[in-house]
């Protein structure tokens, strides 16, 4: 028994105990909590022993096993781009008229994302070209033939627009689902133009499609800043213990701030004055991941909706001549009239821009805004760079566009699994795994006797490692994942068969027990290694290209192959060495 053996033994023991420790939350979530609380992290945290890992470190089930809805939405950025090109054409024509540069005929070619400008008076084309290229920087000049100027949307603008559209759609979808109160939803980008959404526990695919695929609702509503509602409420009713609800002063207005959206809404519920409503604004932490809210701020707004996004015709982020980021908003004819009236009546008040019942921004109305063009100035912020300020403006513009020019979101795929089916599949899946495991274990013990038993120990450790590994990587267990798990158990034993067969051969060649074991392991090592690497290559490619359940299979396979390498080469060898070297055995039982 040399020193390296003790090191290895310690490593094996550490890995085993670590895996068991890591699987404690998973064990509690499946076998201690009742079925309906399986996804309740708070309930899990309450029952977990103090020494256990946190409740979030548990193996969660894929949608196919726990029931729920998986959907992929495709964002039709192309249509939105074409519309944007057309819209720009109209804007340019009217801007040229406003600036007294003469009348211009603008033809849009949405297919090519091109605009052709033909002034009535060809002599003005020089001036127009200069002005247009200066003002509308998202377009570039393609060519100028005689009396016509052809412009095209810049490629980088196209890419940016596509990215923005998907981000916007994600933001809208995430906020909507958050409000729905669905636990553990997952919204992520899939490729460049699709969004993947997981809704565990949801059962109605039509409802989900409707929720996610609906056009964003944009509204303009007046904020009631005269009221001392929030201050009074805080004086009258203390916030629930443990909450961080407190008064905050936004630009001199008294509002509530809190980290927990549901808690804030519950706190104000039933207290809101008639005709008013409390809406929240999501505040993102600086440098936070995209679309995550670090806190929420309350607004007391009028229930009445004087203007909706339907009257909006466009929005663009710019820098003003004073270097402040601003959003240029354009309304259509009837919208312009309504907006003029609204601003006239409410000078000095704040107007909330509400997207799907979330306040996005609440600019103050400084004066009456006629003519259907408004500028929302975001103001200079000294702890932000120009770039960050422009980003804020662009985000607001995006929200406004979501109401005005939404990139249509269409359903790519929807997969729903009923909860009862999920339960049945778990039962069948685990039975299948147990039967497979038992067959292999019995076979190994019968065929290879004591070496077989050692392989069986490794095999069980292997199963433990896979489960712990999947937990550590935050993977979810799916039905194909179980299939992958079973298959890797087979492959893990495969490695032990290679080793044991080799040892038998060496023994048959007249080698001593010790030499046979050493050579058996040494010689089999590269074979096992190669065999694992080739399967790993296939598994990695499957992981990279697959989605949903197939990815679950690939994850199990990958984790399983690594676990198998460890158990077959390190673990069994340490055990066999213990018997053969440590006990100085003259025979080896294979």
């Amino acid at each position: 028994m040399d020193r390296s053996w003790w090191w290895r033994a310690a490593l094996i023991l550490g890995v085993t105990l670590g895996s068991v420790w890591y699987l404690v939350p998973t064990y509690y979530s499946f076998f201690v909590l009742p079925r309906e609380q399986r996804n309740d992290l708070k309930a899990l945290a309450a029952v977990l022993p103090r020494w256990a890992p946190s409740a979030t470190q548990r193996l969660s089930l894929g949608l196919d096993l726990q029931g729920g809805i998986h959907m992929v939405m495709r964002v039709d950025t192309r249509t939105a781009l074409e519309k944007r090109t057309e819209r720009r054409g109209v804007q340019i024509a009217s801007a040229m008229k406003d600036r007294k540069l003469g009348e211009v005929d603008v033809d849009a070619d949405p297919e090519k994302l091109q605009l052709t400008l033909r002034p009535k008076d060809p002599k003005t084309l020089d001036a127009i070209e200069k002005d247009v290229l200066d003002t509308y920087r998202d377009f570039t000049k393609v060519n100028r033939t005689g009396d016509a100027l052809v412009l095209q949307l810049r490629d980088n603008q196209v890419d940016k627009f596509k990215e923005d559209s998907v981000d916007q759609a994600m933001l809208v979808i995430r906020r909507r689902i958050d409000k729905f109160g669905v636990g553990e939803v997952d919204v992520r980008k899939l490729g460049t133009d699709a969004i993947q959404i997981s809704l565990p526990g949801r059962q109605d695919p039509e409802e989900a499609k409707d929720l996610v695929g609906r056009t964003a609702q944009l509204e303009f509503r007046m904020v009631d800043d005269q009221s001392t509602f929030f201050k009074d409420l805080l004086a009258k009713k203390p916030p629930p213990s443990g909450s961080d609800i407190a008064i905050t002063s936004e630009e001199g207005f008294q509002q509530l701030k809190g980290k927990d959206q549901q808690e804030l809404l519950a706190y104000v519920k039933g207290e809101v004055p008639a005709g008013k409503e409390v809406l929240l604004e999501c505040k993102e932490a600086p440098n936070s991941a995209k679309n995550t809210c670090s806190s929420y701020i309350t607004y007391l707004v009028e229930k009445q909706v004087p203007l909706t996004g339907e009257s909006l015709s466009g929005a663009d982020a710019n820098f003003s001549q004073y270097g402040e980021p601003e959003v240029d908003v354009q309304f259509d004819a009837s919208g312009a009239r309504d907006f003029g009236d609204l601003t006239e009546k409410n000078v000095g008040k704040r107007m909330a821009i509400v997207l799907d019942d979330n306040v996005t921004s609440a600019p103050r109305i400084n004066e009456k805004i006629p003519g259907g063009r408004a500028r929302i100035t975001l103001g200079r912020s000294f702890n932000k760079t120009n770039d960050e300020m422009l980003k804020d403006a662009q985000k607001l513009a995006l929200v406004l566009k979501a109401g005005a020019l939404p990139a249509p979101v269409t359903t790519g795929e929807v997969r729903q699994v009923g909860a009862s089916l999920g339960d049945e599949l778990i039962k069948k899946g685990s039975l299948a795994a147990v039967v497979g495991l038992l067959l292999v274990v019995v076979f190994m013990a019968v065929y290879y006797k004591r070496s077989g038993l050692i392989a069986d120990v490794a095999l069980i450790l292997n199963g433990l490692l896979i489960l712990a590994g999947l937990t550590a990587f935050g993977a979810t267990l799916t039905l194909p994942g179980i299939a992958g798990f079973v298959l890797t158990l087979g492959i893990a034993v495969d490695a032990n068969v290679l080793i044991n067969e080799r040892i038998r051969e060496e023994l048959a060649n007249g080698k001593s027990a010790r030499a046979a074991v050493d050579q058996g392991y040494d010689r089999a090592f590269w074979t096992i290694f190669d065999a694992h690497v080739t399967t790993l290559l296939a598994a990695f490619i499957l992981f990279a290209t697959g989605t949903g359940p197939v990815q679950g299979f690939a994850t199990s396979l990958i984790v399983g192959l690594f676990a198998s390498l460890f158990t077959s080469i390190v673990v069994t060898r340490a055990i066999v060495t213990f018997f053969v070297h440590g006990r100085n055995a003259q025979t080896v039982s294979v």
Binding site: T411, V435, L437, L487, E501, R504, A508, A538, A554
Partner: protein, 411 residues
């Protein structure tokens, strides 16, 4: 205990010609079959809607089919899954939404009945109709008019006044096919006698994308493994491994082709099975290659066919046992797996058997053939140089013969 005795001496190499012939014939038949008939693509790849219904009383497939027919679901396909007593059925229809060429025409008439329409476009793929009306319409009225034609409408959206005031744009969004199936199957019943277990919709575009992605994944995986084998072994070995890999993949594809005639579908899980087989096939081949390489060093100068025969015989018990235990682990899945998972386990089983066969009868003999060709070419270009066909050099000693690349491209 021992199943295969250690010193077998079966002449595998001698049977390589009939084996190759039969394998080639089968492969060819499968490829032709795929080209001519094609897989029975599931919704993952073909697009469409699948609804799994579990009835609370025994029903026969004929009854389910009959009920679907009488509910107007003419193109629905019905398949039982699981055991007879489960009363579990998959109902599949093309398309994701209720908008079809037929229902679109009805909707068009209904919409035009409300007032003059300037443009009308039905997007069957997304289940959306866009139209421009001359005058402003109430979305509710439009919704009712279209719904009255018997097609489920989810929403009518007003998109606003068109540019230049040439009309008003509207969008009609149709309900999904799953609703139609469930509603149709429950028609005339007080309470549905089934529960909707599962719904899958896949859009045709996404289906096509997934299919391309799956194919690319297979190609990438094969290439990656080939490069690895070429890097770890002699280049001489790579073509053999590749041919065995392609052979096994085609055979498993053949399983899915045949299974298609029995209503089993080719879907994402099938791609997973094919990819796993690609990995596993090489796995199996490598066990033998490793031994060939070892013996080549040990029996320097012995003709390659003999060495390969020794290597294959020596590893026979390993080859059969490793495949055997992996197959053993699948037994549980074969007993308790339903639907895709059973198909997966079966495909893996086929792959393991075929993979074992191909490692012995295809991959190894092919190495001989390539070696012979290389030697023959060496002889032709360098008269009197080589010892003749079947000569063998241990790995690394191949510098004096034509570039292995040439051998690879000859395959």
């Amino acid at each position: 205990m021992q199943i295969i005795k250690h010193k077998t001496s079966i002449d595998f190499i001698g049977k390589r010609r009939p084996a190759m012939f039969i394998s080639s014939l089968l492969n060819l038949a499968i490829v032709v079959g795929i080209a001519a008939v094609g897989f029975n693509y599931g919704v993952d790849f073909a697009g469409g809607t699948v609804v799994e219904l579990k009835f609370n009383h025994p029903v026969s497939p004929e009854e389910v089919r009959h009920r679907a027919q009488s509910a107007g679901l003419h193109d629905v396909s019905v398949q039982r899954i699981g055991a007879t007593g489960d009363n579990d059925y998959l109902l599949r229809l093309g398309g994701m939404t209720q908008l079809t060429g037929d229902t679109a025409a009805k909707a068009e008439t209904a919409i035009k009945g409300l007032g003059p329409v300037k443009t009308f476009h039905a997007d069957l793929e997304n289940g959306i109709i866009n139209f421009r009306a001359e005058s402003k319409q109430a979305p509710d009225v439009v919704k009712k008019a279209v719904a009255d034609t018997g097609t489920g409408v989810r929403e009518v959206r007003e998109l606003g006044e068109a540019q230049g005031g040439s009309g008003w744009d509207y969008q009609v969004v149709f309900s999904g096919m799953a609703d139609r199936i469930s509603a149709g199957m429950a028609k005339g019943l007080e309470k549905p006698d089934f529960i909707q277990q599962r719904v899958d919709y896949v859009g045709p575009q996404v289906g096509k994308q997934l299919r391309n992605k799956g194919l690319m994944a297979l190609i990438y995986a094969s290439l990656a493994i080939l490069v690895y084998v070429a890097f770890r072994f002699d280049f001489k070995f790579a073509p053999g491994a590749l041919v065995a890999m392609v052979h096994d993949t085609i055979m498993v594809a053949g399983f899915y082709l045949v299974a298609g005639f029995f209503g089993r579908e080719f879907n994402l899980t099938s791609i997973a099975a094919l990819l796993t087989i690609i990995g596993y096939s090489v796995n199996d081949t490598i066990v033998i290659y490793d031994r060939i390489r070892e013996e080549m060093v040990r029996f320097k100068g012995k003709p390659l066919p003999e060495i390969i025969n020794i290597a294959v015989n020596d590893t026979l018990s390993r080859t059969i046992l490793t495949s055997g235990v992996t197959a053993l682990s699948l037994v549980g899945l074969l007993i308790f797996g339903v639907g895709e998972i059973w198909d997966f386990a079966m495909a893996m089983l086929v792959g393991i058997i075929v993979g074992t066969y191909s490692s012995v009868y295809i991959a190894s003999p092919l190495t001989i053939w390539l070696d012979e060709r290389a030697a023959a070419r060496a002889k032709a270009t360098r008269p009197g140089g080589s010892k003749g066909a079947g000569s063998n050099k241990p790995q690394g000693g191949g510098k004096d013969k034509p570039k292995p690349k040439a051998a690879a491209s000859a395959s």
